[in-house]
Every structure is written in structure tokens, then in C-alpha cells.
């Protein structure tokens, strides 16, 4: 597709970046980059591709006008924030950086022809494609948990309508009920997420429904920041939060969303007043449709560049990618996206990719004045991603109230900064 055709198409689609497109046509773009997914993994490479080479023609394929973040969506459930505060638009990417935002979905990718077919049937050509499709739910992998069940027993593992549904259910719940949270096996998006969610729901109960309880039924025996969470639960919420690991029959094997009841491996049934199922996950569907995932449903990538090992000139970042030991966190998605953007720019210039360097800092909010964190710096060693020895780790146990309060404040500061780095200030 010639660029002029694309401009016509963009006009039809009502693209918000049509004005920004004109200069790049006049100048002659140095290459065409298409980014699929405008979340915390996709928006940063769209922006940084333009920062690294303003002559590139960069198109961001994202149907939403505003993106609602999983980070801090637990704080919405806890009543610490409203939905508007976790929504971000694309105005700054378009007006300041010259990214073209097309509000369509990617429906098919032809990695041989190097085209992305979007909703409506139009095709975008690319020289380099970056996918940040996030996760999709493995519907049916947990018996009884399908799309219809998620309307009764929300997952709220993609922020937006599901977050609001779960919040409404909590508000409607009678005091004295049990909030049951079903936590999945690894790997899944945001490893500390279920345990922070337990805290935020408990915070809501503590401030509004003091006779209610939180019960976590877990398909694992260990989880992220576990000693810190367990200390925080004890210190802040007493016995309000109960955690049942797999070794104590915590693994849920069947969900009855209508009855709000779950059944464990050994036949124990738990009745919930509000049932929240964090189900088994996989890379966002477009990755599988493009033939970019392995048997487990995640996308294997070259560690140094995050270029797919299954298709050339296609990069996959964020939760969809296999990047262990980096966790599936928003921080890592942003970090991977920017490093991949540099690799793409180098590749288009016929140069070797820069030496990668990534980081992670993941805050969890136990209470408004009680934060904890895990951090890590990552690099390549012997062709694999490694955590730089001596770097990273979790907040100290038994820290002072001042230390915990500072980390809660830094969690908010982190959110503001990463949102600004990702989407801009709008």
C-alpha cells in the first residue's frame, strides 16, 4: 500500500494522526514501523521510535481512545482511586511525537507479505512490526469459566469494564460476606497482583464492611513478595485475609459462576458473596493468529532484541513474550518496548542492535500508607536474559512505618511517571 492510499484510509478511519502524517510523506520516511497494542508495552516503543528517528513513519494500531491500566486498577477496587485516574489517551504521542494512531483492531498478520489486516479489511504494510498484545484469557481451561461466567464472576485482569463490574459487586455485597479470589498457576500477568488485590479489597472491607473476609484459593505454594505480603496482611488486616495454598487444597478446578461457588482439587466447595477468578492466560490472541506463540501460548523472542524467533522483522514485548527471569509487569513491558524500539531503529539503519539493559520496579500497595516493592536490573549473559548479580530484590522485612509509607508514596510517583513516559501527560 502506498502512503497516499494509507492517508485516504486513515481519513476514512478517522485517524487522529492524519495531520502528523503529512510531514512524513513530504520528507520521505526512513521506514515504516507498525505497533499493535497501545498499552504500557506498545505506546512507549511508538513514542521512542519517533524519538530515536523522527523520520520513521510510525503507526499505532489501538482501537481504544483511552487505555485503562492494570497497574493501579486494584487501587480502584480499594476505593483509593477512580477509573478516570487510570485512563490515558494518545494525544501527546500524536501531536508531540508524530505517531499516527489508528483506532482499529489488528485482525490478521501476514509475516511473509509484511502486512497487518485491520478491522474493516484494510492492510497496513510494515518494514518492522512490534506487537504488544498483552494477555488473553484461556477460556474453558478452568472448568466452568467462560466469557459468560466472567460477567457473573469477573476476572478484572484486563482493566476497564471488568474492573468496574467487580467494584460494583463489592459495593453491593452485604457485610459479613466472603470475597473469594481464585489465583492461577504461573506464568500469568502481574505476579503480585492477586495478593495486592486481596489487600485492596480488605482495605475496602476494613473501611466499609468490617465483618467481611477475603479468601484466596491458590494453585501455587509460593508467590511474589510472599513474606512481605503475609507480614503486611497480619499487621494491617489481622485475620481478615486467609490464603489457602495448593498444598492445603487451594487449587480450584471448577467454577460455578451462577451459584458463585468454586470446587477445589479435593472436592472442597467454597461459596462466595463476590467471586473473582484470575484465570489461566496466554499471549493476546493476535500473537497466536500470526503464528508467533509456542505450545503454551506465549511468544518466544530473541533475548537481545525481542524479535520473534518465529518470524523475521516482528518484535513481541510485554506480557505476551517469554522473557523470564523478567516478570510480566508493566514496568518490564515499558522497558522491553523501548529497548526493542532501539533494536528496530538500529536494524533499519543496517546496524547491530545496542547492548540491551532492562529494569523492573514493581510496587504493591498493601494499604494507603503501606507499600512494598521488588526491583531488578536485567542484561544479557551468554545469550540469555539474566538479572544482574547483586542487583534487585525486595523491600526489607520488619521495616519501619516510615519506610512503608515512603514506598506507598513512591508507588504513586512511579505510576505518574510511567504513565507520563508511556502516554504523555494527557
Amino acid at each position: 500500500m502506498h502512503r497516499i492510499d494509507r492517508r485516504t484510509m486513515l481519513a476514512r478511519l478517522g485517524a487522529s494522526g492524519a495531520l502528523a502524517l503529512a510531514p512524513s510523506i513530504a520528507r520521505g520516511a526512513a521506514g515504516r514501523g507498525v505497533v499493535v497494542g497501545g498499552g504500557v508495552g506498545g505506546a512507549p516503543p511508538a513514542k521512542y521510535l519517533k524519538r530515536f528517528d523522527p523520520a520513521l513513519d510510525v503507526t499505532l494500531v489501538e482501537p481504544a481512545a483511552r487505555f485503562y491500566t492494570c497497574p493501579f486498577s486494584n487501587l480502584v477496587l480499594g476505593g483509593l482511586r477512580d477509573m478516570a485516574s487510570i485512563g490515558h489517551g494518545y494525544d501527546e504521542l500524536v501531536s508531540r511525537y508524530g505517531v499516527t494512531h489508528v483506532r482499529v483492531s489488528a485482525e490478521a498478520i501476514d509475516t511473509a507479505a509484511k502486512t497487518v489486516t485491520v478491522s474493516g479489511g484494510e492492510k497496513l504494510e510494515y518494514d518492522r512490526l512490534l506487537l504488544s498484545p498483552g494477555i488473553d484469557i484461556k477460556w474453558g481451561a478452568l472448568a466452568g469459566y467462560d466469557m459468560a461466567a466472567a460477567e457473573k464472576a469477573p476476572h478484572a485482569w484486563k482493566a476497564g469494564a471488568q474492573t468496574e463490574l467487580l467494584r460494583r459487586q463489592l459495593e453491593a455485597m452485604e457485610d459479613g460476606g466472603v470475597f473469594v479470589l481464585v489465583a492461577p498457576e504461573n506464568p500469568f500477568r502481574c505476579p503480585p497482583g492477586p495478593y495486592e488485590r486481596a489487600c485492596m479489597v480488605a482495605h475496602y472491607f476494613k473501611t466499609h464492611k468490617t465483618r467481611s473476609k477475603v479468601l484466596i484459593l491458590d494453585a501455587k505454594d509460593r508467590f511474589s513478595k510472599q513474606p512481605l505480603f503475609m507480614q503486611g496482611w497480619q499487621q494491617v488486616y489481622g485475620d481478615m485475609i486467609e490464603w489457602v495454598p495448593i498444598s492445603k487444597d487451594g487449587k480450584v478446578v471448577r467454577v460455578d459462576a451462577n451459584a458463585r461457588e468454586v470446587e477445589t482439587e479435593f472436592g472442597t466447595r467454597h461459596k462466595a458473596a463476590v467471586l473473582n477468578v484470575v484465570p489461566p492466560q496466554k499471549a493476546g490472541n493476535i500473537a497466536a493468529a500470526a503464528g508467533l506463540v509456542d505450545e503454551a501460548g506465549w511468544a518466544p523472542v530473541e533475548p537481545r532484541t525481542f524479535e520473534s524467533t518465529l518470524a523475521p522483522d516482528v518484535y513481541v514485548v510485554g506480557d505476551a513474550s517469554i522473557a523470564a527471569p523478567m516478570p510480566k509487569s508493566g514496568f518490564c513491558a515499558n522497558s522491553q518496548g523501548k529497548v526493542a524500539a532501539a533494536a528496530i531503529v538500529a536494524s533499519l539503519a543496517g546496524r547491530e542492535a545496542p547492548q540491551p539493559s532492562w529494569a523492573n520496579t514493581c510496587y504493591s500497595t498493601i494499604a494507603p500508607d503501606y507499600g512494598i516493592s521488588v526491583a531488578g536490573v536485567y542484561a544479557i549473559a551468554e545469550g540469555k536474559i539474566v538479572q544482574v548479580p547483586g542487583s534487585g530484590g525486595v523491600s526489607p522485612m520488619d521495616a519501619s512505618a516510615e519506610f512503608r509509607k515512603l514506598e506507598a508514596e513512591y508507588a504513586v510517583g512511579w505510576y505518574e511517571s510511567i504513565a507520563s513516559d508511556t502516554w504523555g501527560t494527557a
Binding site: 516493592s373 536490573v377 542484561a379 539474566v386 544482574v388 507520563s420
Partner: protein
Amino acid sequence: MRPGLSGTRALAGAALLMLGAPSGTLAEDALQLEVLAASCANCHGTDGNSSGAIPRIGGRPQAALARQLRAFKAGTVEGITVMTRIAKGYSDEQLDTLARHFAERPRP
């Protein structure tokens, strides 16, 4: 084990190299430095221009930034939450390079 330093040594010349780069693409050394510095933006904002609870590092004096980063790494500063854990992931040379990079960022 640590990210390579070969691309970050001749940073004083990065601006000059950029002039010679084709089609506006950042020169090799400058791009390497952007990769190293990219992680800092996640907490300190693009170009280190944080507006929230986390300190702004963009446009601050290089010597002060370098001294602070090395002190974080050594663990000699009291009451530090996450920066000691992060600074230990970088060589002294990388920390100095980052200090220079952020000192040179324009303030908005």
C-alpha cells in the same frame, strides 16, 4: 555479565556523531546510551523530568547525580528504599555515564 560499555565511552562526541548520522537516526553511541537510560524514565519520567513524588533527575548537576548514584550503590545513604537495589545493577562507569546523560537533559 553487565551490559556492554563499548557503546557508551565516547559520549562527549555523541552530539557530533549525530550530525553525521543518516536520516535523523541516532548515532550508535547515542542510541546505546538511550537504551541504558531508558529504564530510569519509568520512575523519573521521560528525560528524567518527574513531576510526582519521585525526584526529578533531568537537568540536575552531573557531579551531584554521580555522587548520589555511587552512594546508593555503596549503600551508605540512610533510609533509601529502592535505589540501592537498582544502583547495584550498574558498573561505576555506567552510573557516571547516566549522571552525565541526565545532567544534559533539558528541563521542560
